[in-house]
């Protein structure tokens, strides 16, 4: 039983997805019940395994060819993965419950819950995988379920396009990821983490090889965690239902890139050059996304950019060679970002699917629970003490301060920007006067939606302390640094927040207009231009060549009566397909007879 229990975490959602797809698509309530039951089974099993430190999982062979290529299906059950399964299945369970309310009247509810279950299967698979190939398998499956859920309302053009964009963009990252996996495999002879780790020391004579393979593996994370320059898909992914934005595009899937980098840190950390590149990718993403977020008007897009920015912090921490700081921020971020999205969802639903913040206003009185929980999430996000985000962001800032001062400076500036755009959002949405009719007539959501909010709000508020009491992390905080860094961070927070209040208090429209930021640094435009002038152009040229050169020369050549084809064409002139076919068969027999007779 003990060796099967960890597999139950994975199998319960898979079975749920299969049963719903095969049998219960017509019965929506039953489908949602199956899916919710499955996620709770996963959650309970995760908790059991978390408390029982000795459980080991059974192992199977997926592909095995002698000693050349062995891909086992096995589970890693170390502290990291056990914590992560509890987090993923726990937040997943809350979002399943919340979805019961949010998707109540959706005609594709069964499809939605089937995809949600499949997502839980894939995401938990990433967490538990014990080798690169298995990790890659679940990695791709997560991308697939993300595609399904972004495209849930597939009959909307925007959702259909966003789903394609997300899948294709992450596949570009996975292209590099796969090459990285191949390189590590060929150099160490294994794909299993536990076998690779001790063999990495044999490669220290090849620093260039290590740097390249480490960076290629990071490509996977850059795609999945939406880091610069592959970040463009995440804001568009907000076309999906809001619970999906919370679960997949904020709390879990996008964090999978960070988790993966931590999981394979034994590869990345062999190359200082790769680490530096990773740290700067995270830093650039953090500040770029924060800048864009200051000029957005869609509540979900602002949160999406804040996710990009926070993921940037995590990747920065990975690049600064601190797995603990990255994971700490991953955990607190999962709580407060899921909370923010779900609270935003509550606002959106109660305002009849209004997402423009300038059409809201004064909602603190109409939606009190939503307001309080949203505010808790917002304060955690900007790193206000004593909310959880303060501790985790502080850990990363301290790290940057010690190891790389330019990165620290940018990170501090990002913290200032974060405070600015989050307080801006809070002020515009919840304070001032209601600016539209639907905003003034809204009421609080039902308990099935507010209870998950309250649970998450408690976690987002207290999460920071819980980690210290469990002694989960050994954070590199030294006495003298520990004072100056939080002091600077709090100063940045106050300046940023104060500025936002000063500018946006009692405003009815945006007073600042920065086109560069409104257009997200023109990345989308640039990429469309790039794709048009590379892929599309090449595709057209190839298609033209194929039709007018390759095909035409083959056909043209034969009509000029060259040997063989000319003879065949004369046969064709018999005019009757059957007659030709008969002659053809006869010719073959004659030829064989002739050949054998000699």
């Amino acid at each position: 039983m003990n060796s099967i229990l960890p597999w139950l975490i994975l199998l319960a959602p898979l079975v749920s997805a299969a049963v719903i797809t095969l049998f219960t698509l017509r019965w929506k309530t039953l489908s949602s019940a199956i899916s919710v039951a499955a996620v709770f089974v996963s959650f309970i099993c995760s908790c059991l395994i978390f408390t029982h430190r000795t459980s080991a999982a059974a192992e199977f062979t997926w592909i095995g060819i002698g000693s050349v290529f062995q891909v086992p299906l096995g589970l890693t059950l170390d502290q990291l993965s056990r914590m992560m399964t509890v987090l993923v299945s726990g937040i997943g369970a809350l979002i399943h419950v919340y979805s019961l309310g949010y998707m109540r009247d959706d005609e594709g509810k069964s499809r939605y819950f089937a995809a949600l279950s499949l997502f839980m299967f894939a995401m938990l698979g990433i967490v538990l995988a014990n080798n690169f190939v298995m990790l890659f398998i679940f990695w791709e499956l997560v991308g697939f379920t993300s595609y399904l859920l972004i495209g849930h309302w597939f009959y909307r053009d925007a959702a259909a396009d966003a789903a394609n964009k997300a899948f294709i963009t992450t596949r570009i990252g996975d292209f590099g990821f796969m090459i990285g996996i191949l390189m590590i495999w060929i150099a160490t002879g294994s794909v299993v983490f536990a076998e690779i780790a001790p063999r990495m020391s044999g490669l220290t004579n090849h620093p260039a090889f290590l740097t390249i393979s480490a960076l290629l593996i990071c490509c996977g994370a850059v795609g999945k965690s939406a880091q610069f320059p592959l970040h463009v898909w995440l804001p568009d992914a907000m076309e999906g239902p809001t619970p999906i934005s919370a679960l997949i595009h904020a709390a879990t899937m996008v964090a999978a890139g960070v988790y993966m980098l931590v999981r394979v840190a034994f590869v990345i950390q062999t190359s200082p050059a790769a680490l530096l590149v990773v740290a700067w990718i995270g830093t650039i993403t953090a500040v770029m996304a924060a800048l864009i977020a200051t000029q957005q008007d869609d509540i979900k897009r602002i949160l999406a950019y804040s996710t990009l920015s926070q993921l940037g912090y995590m990747i920065m921490a990975v690049g600064l060679a601190s797995n603990d700081a990255a994971m700490f921020h991953l955990f607190t971020h999962a709580f407060f970002k899921a909370l923010l999205f779900l609270a935003a969802g509550s606002v959106i639903v109660m305002l009849h699917h209004e997402q423009n913040i300038w059409n809201m206003g004064g909602l603190r009185l109409k939606l009190p629970i939503t307001f309080v929980t949203f505010a808790a999430g917002a304060l955690a996000l900007i790193g206000c003490p004593p909310f959880s985000g303060f501790f985790s962001k502080d850990a990363i800032l301290v790290l940057a301060y010690e190891r790389n001062v330019p990165i620290f400076a940018v990170a501090l500036f990002t913290a200032f920007l974060t405070a600015f755009y989050v307080i801006r959002l809070l002020v515009i949405v919840f304070f001032g006067d209601a600016r539209t009719e639907s905003a003034s007539e809204s009421r609080e959501s039902s308990p099935v939606m507010t209870v998950p909010l309250i649970v998450l709000a408690i976690l987002a508020t207290l999460g920071g302390f819980a980690f210290f009491t469990r002694n989960f992390l050994t954070l590199p905080i030294e006495k003298e640094v520990a004072i100056i860094v939080p002091a600077l961070a709090i100063a940045a927070l106050i300046v940023g927040g104060g500025l936002a209040i000063a500018i946006y208090r009692n405003r009815a429209s945006e007073p600042i207009d920065l086109q560069l930021l409104r257009h997200k640094f023109y990345f989308d435009e640039f990429y469309s231009w790039l794709v048009y002038w590379t892929q599309e152009l090449l595709a057209r040229i190839s298609a033209f060549t194929d039709r007018w050169i390759i095909d035409a020369s083959a056909v043209g050549g034969s009509s000029r009566g060259t040997w063989g084809t000319g003879a065949l064409l004369r046969l064709i002139q018999v005019g009757n397909l059957q007659a030709y076919v008969f002659l053809f068969g006869l010719g073959i027999v004659a030829l064989i007879y002739f050949a054998v007779f000699h």
Binding site: L141, G151, F154, A163, A539, Y580
Partner: protein, 492 residues
């Protein structure tokens, strides 16, 4: 049992031509064939490396020609593929407006011919069965095809006839390159001769080139591929399913069965050429596929493109790559059959497959949308489908060839480019799916009917087989890896 899988469709074809009820007989025969293939699978002896269920009827002892059939792991997977796709194709066929009996007889002949080629241990019948299957393919396109049927039929006929002739020359040369005492039509005997070094290096190089071009034309190897999309677009859906899914795989099977064990020196000599050509399939044809404006042409080109991956596995000439090639042959056969079958159903309803005319169809045809989506994601190599298992073995196998740390050689470069091909195929497949099935639906399609429930059976069959071997590829690996290990170790 092997004979049953071959002759059940052929006898049924004859019976249908003599006046038996077409659809019933064809369905019964294909169910029987499928059952026989399943029986062969269930009774497969994994401990044995040789052919099993061998039956032999001597024809000319003097030439050592005999009608010998049997299956090893490689053959059995091909036979299984043939029987599954046959069943699905015949199920999809439905009512035919003219000469229904001849139509079904042609389908069954393709099936019987292809399975016969896969299960023949004799070189002569290996070739003859394939010819038997080609002829009805031409007829199906020429007589029952769509708008462009005459031109497409001529083109495929000319191409494949030339391919067959070159192949035949290669086979004859192969037969004659073995010294008199060893000469035989029995493939096993030829392999023994080759393993004991009876085929000279020069002969290997010549024969390999002929086989590569001959088989290559049949498989649509770049630059001999332009017949394929046109023919598949014009062909009736069941014919496209059977040809792209099964019959085209004959060439790949031939390379694996003949070239890998018998002509290792030829393979080494022409490896660079093959890699360049297969990259033409993957990158160049991949780009051409992106530019397609019609669903059927897109599918035709995509099936040409995916041949590049299987060639990569063959070119790698190691156990990992060739095993992956077999898994991908099987997987591609099923997924392309599924996609062609569904595209045919779409064409029946809309009368057009131009992307500009379609859109949002999943709204009115949810089952077709789901099924096509599964086919699309199988084709782009999503894990869980057998396509991924095959591709990943090919990538690992090819990447390993000629590796030394610090330098990328031709196979590493080819693997990287082939991996980029995965992105290309994701682009065209998802774009096509989005343009046909997602987005807003236009008014004229709002009354379209979804697939009738009877068609859920073949769809489920194809998807189930893809998922089954996607989750458990090891059962295939255990069937073929020992064969290739024996083939490749004999070379050294």
């Amino acid at each position: 049992m092997v004979l049953l899988t071959i002759f059940c469709p052929i006898i049924a074809a004859i019976a249908i031509m003599m006046g038996a009820s077409a659809r019933k007989t064809a369905l019964t025969a294909s169910v029987l064939t499928f059952a026989a293939a399943l029986f062969l699978l269930a009774s497969f002896d994994y401990s044995q490396r040789n052919f099993q269920h061998v039956t032999s009827f001597p024809i000319s002892p003097e030439w050592r020609l005999s009608f010998t059939t049997g299956v090893d792991g490689l053959s059995l997977i091909m036979v299984l593929l043939g029987s599954i796709v046959t069943l699905a194709a015949i199920w999809f066929a439905g009512a035919i407006d003219r000469s229904e009996n001849a139509f079904y007889a042609c389908l069954l002949l393709i099936s019987g011919g292809a399975i016969g080629a896969f299960a023949s241990i004799d070189l002569f019948f290996f070739y003859a069965f394939h010819e038997l299957a080609l002829i009805p393919t031409f007829l199906l396109i020429g007589v029952w095809g769509g708008a462009n049927r005459v031109a497409a039929a001529w083109k495929i006929t000319i191409y494949l006839a030339i391919g067959s002739f070159i192949l035949l020359l290669g086979l004859i040369l192969l037969y004659q390159s073995v010294p008199l005492g060893w000469r035989s039509f029995d493939i096993r005997a030829l392999q023994t001769a080759a393993a004991s070094g009876q085929i000279t290096v020069d002969a290997q190089r010549h024969v390999y080139l002929l086989l590569l071009i001959g088989f290559g034309i049949l498989i649509a190897l770049f630059p001999f591929h332009t017949w394929a999309p046109e023919a598949y677009a014009a062909a009736p859906a069941p014919a496209a399913m059977l040809h792209a899914g099964v019959l085209k795989k004959f060439g790949l099977y031939g390379l694996l069965r003949l070239a890998i064990p018998m002509l290792p020196e030829g393979a080494r000599h022409w490896a660079t050429l093959l890699v360049v050509l297969l990259l033409g399939n993957i990158i160049y044809v991949g780009l051409v596929t992106i530019a397609q404006k019609r669903l059927d042409w897109m599918l035709g080109y995509s099936s040409v493109m995916h041949m590049g991956y299987i060639f990569l596995g063959i070119a790698s000439a190691n156990v990992l790559g060739t095993t992956g090639a077999v898994v991908l042959i099987f997987a591609h056969g099923l997924s392309i059959a599924l996609l062609f079958g569904l595209a045919g159903e779409l064409r029946k309803r809309t009368g057009t497959l131009a992307f500009d005319d379609l859109g949002g169809l999943a709204k009115v045809m949810p089952f077709a949308g789901l099924a096509f989506g599964l086919g699309v994601f199988a084709a782009v190599g999503l894990p869980g489908f057998a396509n991924f298992a095959g591709e990943i073995m090919i990538f690992f196998g090819a990447f390993r060839d000629g590796w030394d740390i610090g330098h990328f050689h031709i196979f590493q470069v080819a693997t990287v480019l082939a991996l980029w091909g995965v992105v290309i195929s994701t682009v065209y497949m998802l774009r096509a799916y989005r343009r046909a099935f997602m987005g807003a639906i236009s008014e004229q399609w709002k009354s379209l009917l979804d697939l009738r429930p009877a068609l859920h059976v073949p769809v489920t069959l194809l998807v189930a087989a893809l998922l089954c071997y996607g989750f458990f590829p090891q059962s295939f690996v255990r069937m073929v890896a020992p064969t290739f290990r024996a083939y490749l170790s004999a070379n050294k």
